[in-house]
Symmetry: C2
Subunit: 315 residues, 2 copies
Amino acid sequence: MAQNIFLKPFYFIRHYRFKTTVIDGKSIANKILKDLKVAVQEHTDKKHRAPTLTAIIVGDDPSSKIYVKNKVKTAHFVGIKTEVLNFPDSISETKLIKTIQVLNSTKEVDSVLLQLPLPSHINPNIYELISPEKDVDGFTSANFGKFCLDKETIIPCTVLAVQKILQEINIDFTGKNALICGRSKHVGLPIAMLLHSNFKNAVKGFNANTIICHRFTPVDQLTKFCQNADVVITATGVPSLIRGYMVKKGSVIIDVGISRIIDPQSLKNKIVGDVNFEEVKEVAGFLTPVPGGVGPLTVAMLLQNTFTIARKRNP
Amino acid sequence: MAQNIFLKPFYFIRHYRFKTTVIDGKSIANKILKDLKVAVQEHTDKKHRAPTLTAIIVGDDPSSKIYVKNKVKTAHFVGIKTEVLNFPDSISETKLIKTIQVLNSTKEVDSVLLQLPLPSHINPNIYELISPEKDVDGFTSANFGKFCLDKETIIPCTVLAVQKILQEINIDFTGKNALICGRSKHVGLPIAMLLHSNFKNAVKGFNANTIICHRFTPVDQLTKFCQNADVVITATGVPSLIRGYMVKKGSVIIDVGISRIIDPQSLKNKIVGDVNFEEVKEVAGFLTPVPGGVGPLTVAMLLQNTFTIARKRNP
């Protein structure tokens, strides 16, 4: 019964459109950002100071710099003030701890973002020192525990991005099969939370039968799961992990992977996701591209989190 | 390759033994309790006071009283001192909060157990007020977040019980299919964590492809997942949810469900699990009974947690 309700719209798509709907993450993000800009303006019109976001980068990882630059640029568009603290790779753990403590106690700092990865001599548990109230990425165990247990908290931006895309597609996944590829603590795992739970209180979940696959899942088993999945969310960083023959016709494929490869034809650097886009766009019902899918939405959700925190701190 | 390693011992079992190995949870628990008794004795021999466990029961739920009575009796066996605070159903939230605060600040109280369920007029978030250091069930969001993110913490007793059983069976589930039925925040969800992750730091995980099913999973879909699962852990409270025809030959079936039913033949009360024991014992490789399977181990793990906390507080 439930299966019929689900399949009918895809049947329609398959026979009358033949093509996948490619989801334009940038458009959805732009709408969120425009709304956010208005909300921030209303907030500052009420004599509140502008929301602030402080980002910490350690070392010279070029990707980290690009990510943060992008976040800063978008923050300025919506009216969020930013500060970027660049530390050399050689920074001592003590200095980094002190920096976080100062940010925690500075009234004008609403949100703190510690850009990952950190150099190997820094204990990754340093993240836990960010005040949970200012932990804009929702990565501290205090916030993560609340999220898992469906209590009000700050939710990781990628989870909110995936949720937004699934809400836009507007399919009921209750009792349907959802596959998440990748079990990282910041992306795969919290997305598995979103997919399987109802999340009555904290965030709308999807009540799906949820399958978690990872580096140890044999490819033939992954293929079987994928072929039976109504929605696949992949966050592994393995280019072309999801091939056309693995995808159920009409299913929803959301690609959270980001890899830099050298394009064999142009010999230029190229950013790709986990999904073989050319193959899968012939089969899937909905598909997000990389770049231009989940990425822009993640940035929008980060700024939405920043504003939520700021409003809570200055009601 | 990995699949062969896994299947061979079951092939052996199927052809030469024909019968399921029924796992005697009570024996495993007794061994843990005897070792614990020795460890507690050594601890108190060093002039430390005996570890203590304070249980709070609200209302007259007969099951709660039986559970707590059982925990108290076993605690005394291993040398853990207990105190049980019985409150009437009519207790105010304020009084309960004050009680928890007093226990948090009482030096002699090592562990606090708030027996669930609570009456409907008490906000279930009251649980969060238990000091994470004394939260012997590992249900506070602070502890749950750390568990999910693989940081050292107090882990829910049922998770430890399931882990112990799987360790006793001693099969490598890396890349195998694990099915968890039930997504409760205290049992199903943390067991899904155990199954899918490696948990390098906090607790040994199982690296399995993990499928989470729940009340919205259609029975035909549950059947398919179950038929392909190398290990099934069920925690739903639905008697006879797992039938013989649903089970893969030689697989491991762990039954965490507890339901009280009236036996149709004797017309007496009877405790059963989620698994149709008579049917499944003809098919599974390993099977836990109810009662006498996971239950006794959960109590043993609670006391192990109590001792771990006490040792940390009085090193």
